[in-house]
């Protein structure tokens, strides 16, 4: 098979609720991830990033969440063909997920050591004592003194809790780590520590990673490839260099321009007018058309294909305008 650890093909996910009708959260998304690489999923709240992550692990809320089309190949095997029991063997062992909010991802009434040991014992046949020892080792790997394994989550600060969550997700040396906004809840200096630690661990363990974030600065530091998600669609995908230096989609360009820059001197931010469309009522043509300054009549009516502009760099736009290399 290919050297891709993960291949997502034409994935579509909807949420069906009585009140709101059908919400088209993910629309025909195809992504692939090479072994050892980090893929960044960038987009704003409600773009469908977390739904993609949950879709991969088949953790969509039931009964609202439905995968309406697509396949997810993990090491060449289709996860959607697996039994629920087989999935349980994969989650946490081969693919693990780091949740956004470390404050709520931990069980408040178990010690952190117990929680890590639980993951290990679920996937490896070892006794309690050995698992506890492994838990201590793993804690030390993420920079927490081993003797704190008998403490409870409330005794840790936010940054330490996120380390515990990361330790837990690495407990079984997964091949693929999905990190959903792992540092959003943290202060910058702590975020810097956690990002460095994740990079370091990734190199040592050879883990592949999907990093979900809205922070382009974090993406620049961590990712090899980047997919920009808007209204459940991939609007632009390519290597980090493609996206940061040759951004082509008007949304990607707008996203970069609306960032306050530590270096620039300007007194007003450029901005993208308007809001992301309602996922229960998506525009027919380009999803970004209502906010786009280059919108034409064609954009509003026809479905826009993802076209390859340079090898490996795809963009979903009819009016491609390569932006000059950013200085």
């Amino acid at each position: 098979m290919s050297e891709n650890i993960l291949d997502i093909k034409n994935l579509s996910i909807t949420y069906v609720t009585k009140d709101l009708g059908t919400c088209y959260a993910v629309n025909d998304v195809s992504l692939s991830l090479q072994k050892g690489h980090t893929l960044g999923l960038v987009g704003e709240t409600g773009a469908g990033k977390t739904t993609i992550a949950k879709g991969i692990l088949r953790l969509l809320p039931k009964p609202q969440g439905h995968v309406t089309s697509g396949t997810v190949l993990f090491n060449g095997e289709d996860l959607y063909q697996k039994s629920e029991a087989a999935m349980r063997g994969i989650r946490g062992k081969k693919i693990s997920l780091i949740f956004q909010d470390p404050m709520t991802a931990l069980n408040p009434i178990d010690t952190v050591g117990e929680q890590i040991a639980e993951v290990i014992r679920l996937h490896a046949k070892i006794n309690k004592k050995e698992a506890a020892l492994r838990a201590v080792e793993i804690l030390e790997m993420v920079g927490i003194p081993g003797d704190r394994s008998t403490e409870y989550p409330h005794q840790f600060s936010g940054g330490m809790k996120q380390r515990v969550v990361i330790a837990m997700s690495l407990a079984c040396s997964p091949e693929l780590l999905i990190a959903d906004e792992p540092t959003t809840a943290l202060d910058v200096t702590i975020q810097a520590q956690v990002l460095d630690m994740m990079n370091d661990l990734k190199e040592r363990l050879g883990t592949s990673m999907i990093l979900i974030t809205h922070d382009l600065g974090v993406v620049a530091e961590m990712c090899d490839e980047v997919a920009v998600i808007y209204a459940g669609e991939v609007v632009e995908i390519g290597t980090a260099r493609d996206i940061f230096k040759h951004m082509s989609h008007p949304y990607t360009i707008g996203l970069f321009e609306s960032l306050p820059d530590l270096k620039s001197e300007s007194k007003r931010l450029k901005l993208i007018p308007g809001l992301m469309p309602d996922p229960t009522d998506l525009p027919k043509g380009c999803k970004f058309a209502p906010r786009c300054s280059h919108c034409t009549a064609e954009c509003e009516t026809m479905a826009i294909p993802l076209t390859e502009i340079t090898p490996g760099h795809f963009c979903r736009c009819l009016n491609l305008q390569q932006k000059e290399e950013r200085v």
């Binding site: 704003e44 709240t45 600060s157 936010g158 940054g159 330490m160 202060d187 910058v188 200096t189 702590i190 975020q191 810097a192 520590q193 990002l195 460095d196 809205h214 922070d215 382009l216 600065g217 974090v218 993406v219 620049a220 530091e221 980090a240 260099r241 940061f244 230096k245 707008g254 996203l255 970069f256 609306s258 960032l259 306050p260 820059d261 530590l262 001197e265 007194k267 007003r268 931010l269 450029k270 901005l271 993208i272 007018p273 809001l275 950013r326």
Partner: protein, 319 residues
């Protein structure tokens, strides 16, 4: 230009089981009319407490807050309620700071109704004027907060804070809960309104790129104390305090060719409860000397307008 607010040696301690929590510990600053003071720091450094104490929403433990030369902490109740009209706050979280059972109209009109003395028509006119200023379409006038997205909700918070024509507004992380494209819209709006209404802001945030963009002066806080204060451009050009340097270097830059010269900080914020003598930052500082653990350095004006609290500032920066 005249000084609108002067804070002298402001202190706010909270009694907790373990002792005294020094949330704000001897902060002094001045703001000129029409200017913006950015306050940056990490969670737990006392920046939100500072904002609330300045507005006298929390009693101070010590020090003075002079608004147009008048001490807010000692004025009579009547005078205070008059002052409150001029001093307002915009809260961080547009999801929990609005009453879910009040419509946009009721929320924005409430401050006028509390003050009293306005006719119904005047209130209606003012509400629609405010909605126009903050860019909320008139059709939302009878909507409830849950029907609106974060950006629009934050606009309600802004409209409500500004409805009484205040002079001075504390903005406590007003854009932290918003997405970047919406954040840009709200930041531009706040700058437009400032120009139009001649407002003075204290802008509290943890986001250094936002603070640089919006502020005239920036104050960096660490564990209840000001560690550095300077005009915005000056601070980004010359970061004298080791903490400021580490803080700025920790911000991820959205440029893949950016060379990272990150200064890693050891450990995390130490406890503000019964702080030890000596520099608050010493335990995490790579340059700390024995004296740093014994004596807390005084604030010093290093170059005109640039204040730093550090024993080693001169040797570290070859000054």
């Amino acid at each position: 230009m005249s000084t609108i607010l002067e804070v002298k040696d402001l202190k706010k301690y909270f009694k907790v089981n373990a002792g005294l929590l020094h949330a704000v510990d001897g902060v002094s600053f001045k703001i000129e009319e029409g200017q913006t003071l950015g306050v940056v720091g990490e969670s737990g450094c006392g920046k939100s407490t500072l904002g609330r104490v300045v507005l006298h929403l929390l009693d101070n433990t010590g020090g003075q807050i002079l608004y147009h030369g008048e001490d807010v902490t000692t004025v009579s109740r009547e005078k205070l309620s008059a002052l409150r009209r001029e001093m307002q706050i915009i809260f961080q979280d547009p999801f929990s700071s609005l009453n879910p059972r009040m419509t946009v109209y009721q929320t924005i009109a409430e401050p006028m109704q509390i003050i009293g003395g306005y006719t119904r028509a005047q209130i209606e006119e003012r509400v629609s004027e405010m909605m126009d200023i903050v860019g909320l379409a008139a059709r939302f006038v009878n909507s409830y907060p849950h029907e609106l997205d974060g950006g629009r909700r934050q606009r309600i918070g802004i409209a409500r804070a500004l409805v009484l024509n205040p002079k001075f507004v504390v903005c406590d992380e007003p854009v932290s809960a918003l997405d970047v494209s919406i954040q840009a819209q709200v930041l531009n709006l706040m700058l437009d309104i400032q120009e139009r209404m001649g407002l003075t802001y204290i802008f509290i945030t943890h986001d250094l790129s936002v603070v640089k963009y919006i502020s005239n002066d920036i104050m960096v806080m660490y564990l209840g104390q000001m560690v550095e204060k300077a005009p915005a451009d000056e601070l980004f050009k010359h970061r004298y305090h080791p903490y400021t340097r580490a803080l700025i270097s920790a911000v991820p830059i959205p440029d893949i060719d950016h060379k990272r010269e990150r200064i890693q900080l050891k450990g995390e914020l130490t406890s503000p409860i019964n702080p030890k003598p000596g520099c608050r930052f010493a335990a995490r500082c790579i340059y700390a000397k024995p004296e740093c653990f014994e004596v807390n350095p005084e604030i010093e004006e290093i170059t005109p307008g640039h204040f730093v609290r550090c024993h080693c500032v001169r040797e570290l920066n070859n000054l």
